[in-house]
């Protein structure tokens, strides 16, 4: 992998692309730390300090993770790439409902370009809504679990409130527009998928400070131990992410020039982790619900139900919580795989174009065969996801601390980072291969 990078840098074309991507990432990070006008930066820092020591299980922590900490500091890029992702999903869903969008989608590139344009407008719309909501939450202190009410992030000034708030909304919306553009620039002219690279950046950006925190609280040896463990986990993830079962496929459409090339060139790759990171996100989102309920039920003399939920379903170190989390992940993995990999559809497609699995008849027998293999391979995949996801919780028990609730070495973050990393490296590798003929003969 390292050698791939070195040779990538030796190829002028690719070097330009990589440097371009790094440049965009730098701009993105700059914007993520740049405070918006009207925000008291000193207060932000004090607030972040306060948050570190306290209990930080809030609804917005996951969002904060995706924005690389930019959300909590209400910076120019506070909303990050999320509005764009949300808008893309909404428009995709709307194509099912609105015939006009469905028509556009069918018109190929030209139509797709129009849909992209709508996505951009919707992103800006969402950005206005979200920034207003977050600013309101920040002003009321809820964004920080009411922990830093003594340091108002948006302090009162001589200007009327609507000017300050309006300015903030405009800044953040514009920031979102810029982030969207940066993402598209990476996709078009850089390496990797813009959205993924930016999410990767946000998560990776938190590594140094979190690492520092561990070093601070656990001492040098504890820190080394954690790093070693993390490396082991990452290695494991890299291996399993690449593991796949290859089902050979043969196409019987050609009368000449057909040879058997060991039968390895055409196959369906079934990944051990066919579902990716989505089940983990689903499961953890679902497990936020008890926490959210507690926030609403909070009172001075908690009832039995409150205590029950708090003890068993809102404490990440309790065994019932870990078990529920794991089971939810198992369930969502099967659920998601069954949706995204439809054996019947795949079998039909193969049949349509004259392909078949050697020794197995097309149509239903093929679909049955595929779903048999799939169900067998999904179990280890689901277990693997569950283990990676609950590792941090086990970790809390070992360290006897809740301070690392969302620390970036956690399951979700590692899965996302490794996933994006692998994807990007593969793309670089492929482009590198394409260009390997220059000077081929010397």
């Amino acid at each position: 992998m390292l050698s791939a990078f070195i040779s990538a840098f030796k190829t002028p074309d690719l070097r330009k692309k990589i440097l371009f991507t790094l440049g965009i990432i730098a701009i993105y990070r700059l914007g993520a730390t740049l405070p918006s006008p009207g925000v008291a930066y000193g207060n932000v820092q004090q607030c972040v300090e306060a948050m570190k020591t306290g209990d930080q299980s809030g609804v917005f922590t996951l969002l904060n993770l995706f924005s690389g900490g930019a959300l909590m500091s209400l910076s120019v890029f506070a909303l990050g790439i999320m509005p764009y992702i949300t808008a893309s999903i909404i428009l995709q869903l709307l194509t099912v409902v609105i015939p006009r969008l469905e028509q556009l989608r069918k018109e190929g590139q030209a139509g797709q370009a129009k849909i992209t344009q709508y996505t951009r407008y919707l992103t800006l719309g969402l950005a206005v809504l979200q920034s207003s909501a977050f600013i309101a939450l920040a002003r009321s202190g809820q964004l920080f679990n009411n922990m830093c009410n003594e340091f108002p992030i948006v302090p009162q000034t001589s200007l009327p409130d609507w000017v300050t708030v309006g300015m903030l909304v405009i800044t953040m919306t514009a920031g979102t527009g810029v982030v969207m553009w940066l993402g598209e620039l990476i996709t078009d002219r850089g390496v990797g998928n813009g959205m993924s690279v930016l999410i990767f950046t946000s998560i990776a950006a938190r590594l140094p400070s979190e690492g520092w925190q561990i070093l601070d609280s656990q001492g040098v040896w504890g820190f080394v131990g954690v790093i070693a463990l993390v490396l082991v986990v990452i290695t494991l993830v890299v291996y399993i992410e690449q593991a796949q079962r290859r089902i050979p496929v043969q196409y019987a459409k050609r009368m000449v020039g057909r040879r058997m090339y060991g039968g390895t060139s055409t196959y369906i790759p079934l990944k051990v982790n066919q579902a990716g990171v989505i089940p983990v996100i689903f499961a953890s989102s679902l497990l936020y619900l008890p926490q959210l309920a507690l926030d609403f039920m909070r009172s001075d003399n908690p009832g039995k139900v409150y205590i029950f939920i708090e003890k068993y379903f809102a404490t990440p170190t309790s065994w019932s919580y870990i078990l529920t989390y794991g089971l939810l992940i198992l369930f969502f993995t099967y659920f998601y795989v069954s949706i995204t990999f439809n054996p019947t559809e795949v079998a039909d497609n193969m049949k349509k174009y004259g392909g078949f699995v050697p020794g197995i008849r097309p149509g239903k027998p093929t679909a049955d065969y595929l779903s048999f293999i799939l169900s067998r391979i999904t179990l280890p995949g689901a277990l693997y996801l569950a283990i990676i996801a609950v590792l941090p919780n086990l970790f809390f028990i070992a360290l006897d601390s809740q301070a690392y609730q969302n620390f970036p070495f956690g399951g979700t973050a590692v899965l996302i980072m490794v996933g994006v990393g692998l994807e990007t490296v593969k793309q670089i590798e492929s482009q590198l291969m394409q260009r390997s003929y220059e000077g081929f003969l010397r």
Binding site: G108, Q109, V249, G257, S265, Y267, I339, N349, Q427
Partner: protein, 763 residues
Amino acid sequence: MGVTFRLKNTFRRFLERPGTTVDLRPFEKLLPEIEARGEELADLSDEELTELAGQAKELVEICALGREAGWRALGERAYDVQVLGVLALLGKTVAEMATGEGKTLAAAIAAYGHVVRGFGPVHVITVNDYLARRDAGWMEPVYKLLGLTVGYVTGLSTPAERREAYKQDVTYVSVSEAGFDYLRDQLATDIDDRIQAELGTAIVDEADSILIDEARVPMVLAGTIANEQDPVHTAAALVRALRPKRDYEITDDGRSAAFTSEGLARLEKVLGDIDLYDTEHIAQLSALNVALHAEALLERDVDYIVRNQTVELVDEMRGRVAHRRRWPDGLHAAVEAKEGLNATAEGEVLGTITVQAYVMLYPNLAGMTATAVHVGDELREYYSLEVAVIPSNTPCVREDEEDHIYATNAERDEALIEVIREHHEAGRPVLIGTLDVSASQILHKGLTDAGVPCVVLNAKNDDEEAAIIAEAGTYGAVTVSTQMAGRGVDIRLGGSDQSDRERVAELGGLYVIGSGRHNSRRVDDQLRGRAGRQGDPGGSIFFVSLEDDLVRHHAADSLPAWPKMKFGGLVDDERVTAAVEHAQRVAEGVNHEIHRNTWRYSVVIEQQRKALAERRERLLTTEVAAEMLKARCPEKADEIEDDSLLELGRAIALFHLDRLWAEHLAELAEVREGVHLRALGRVDPLDEFHRSAVPAFNRLIPEIEERTVATFEEMDLDEGWAPERAELIRPSATWTYLVNDNPFGSELDRLISMVGRTMKSRG
């Protein structure tokens, strides 16, 4: 020019919309200078003009000399707009010039300009042999005055004639002849056998047609290989006995067909209760699949015609018979078997290049056409070419009427014949463009029955066709032709001698009728463009039926259930008009997507081809093969003289290089076919394709060496060695299974389609 118009134009230019990026204003400023210089040149003798022509370097001088030469040689003085066209061509852009504006002369002057500025030799690439011959002959006096030599190549040229033609300063050649000459040179085993000189500049005539429509057509050189058994006729007979829907199914887009379980059971029973999906029966299964494709998807007189006991392909883009073109992979033999003809030998691919890749071999590229702006984005994407829109000399006054849409084919045809009859009786010349050969035959029959005499152009040769189309403007003429017929030939009002010009002009000029919308607006525009040449009066209209393939394939679900209708089946409903336009946009998108995908996958093959061509060049021109043999098998190499070793080593190495390349191409074709399945593992199919193609190619070079050494070691030095040369044939076709390389869509798409299905099943 209004302020809003200017603002809009500025904005379009800012957005880099095609057709706005080339600024003609600097060129326009040169026009007075060119005019002035032209007046000076008028006094010179022909000899002095020729002498000056050899020294010209400046744009002004080139244009002035070219204009003067055109005037003296042909009596045609290039208009200012033609000069602008010349300047655009010299600036390596695609010049959009309206029909009849004298593209041929502009190209000739530009060709001269490129040669004299040191970018020669220039190839003027035409769409067919007829135009290559005609234009070369027509422009010869101009070139002669300018001190240049000119040649042309047609399908009938002998290798010696070709070699001679390519030696000239300017060569007129059709794109397929040029491409095949290049491919054949790539397989030459002796330097002296090569035909083409180096490639300098290409000026592409009808650039949209060649650079976009035909770009993905691969030119394939194949060798015949003996086929021991003949499964095609049995397969054809078996498949013929099947019934559609029950035994096999065709997809909605009409691009693929598959047996149903019932059909399979039937076939297996006839074949003697075998399991076709057993590995030992794969040859039979392939034959049946190909036979099914031939039976169910290819239609006689639409996709091919049968003439003189042979199957001839119809070019899907041009609607014309494509000479010497074959379907690949045994499909051609299967079609022959379907028609009860003798199946010809199958070809193994020896070398292949797409039109696009071939054209891009030229260091300098320019083009001209009447319809370029529509494909501006694609020209930029694939060739980095910009479009220069040249204003027309006289404004176009053609009246383009709105489409007439009918519910059924029968109603459409009836109305169509009625309209033609009316115009014919009034004496107005009518040109009808049909979508395919069979449609033109049906129309011919209908017109004859209605008592309207008409000329039908299909499957005739290019020369006759040109002669007929030139007369399409004659008083009372009715001409039926497929879309591209006679392109490049002017239709003058009142016939080629313009005797009845006034009378025809008074009736409204040529009336162009399309008997259905084509797969792209651009082709529609080309057809319309046949009328209204150089400010002539003219009109155009399209008659669409909701049963047209275009509408059925791409807009079946957007049509309202009960469209508003007028008397006679004429549909008058905005929703229907919108649906027809939508269908056309979908078709354009599909074609674009196929083009893009073909291109993306061919890039790596193209690089490999170039790398191997370099290697081949070295084998051919240096002594590397002999040196290698000396190093690897010194004993045996010492037994023969250096000269014979050189020759022998070269022959063996070249033979194995060509063979391995053919095998490599077959392997890549195999990978390409199933690579879309990899998307299911969340990887990019294109990346995966590279991952297979690159290592396979890297194994090629050592393998060539190994095989060369092995052959040399095994051979008997006394007997000599002769490779089994396959006879070259040249098939070529468009052959696409998949529009998209990820038919399942992204994971999000799959999720959403699942949601959609659930909603629809409930709703």
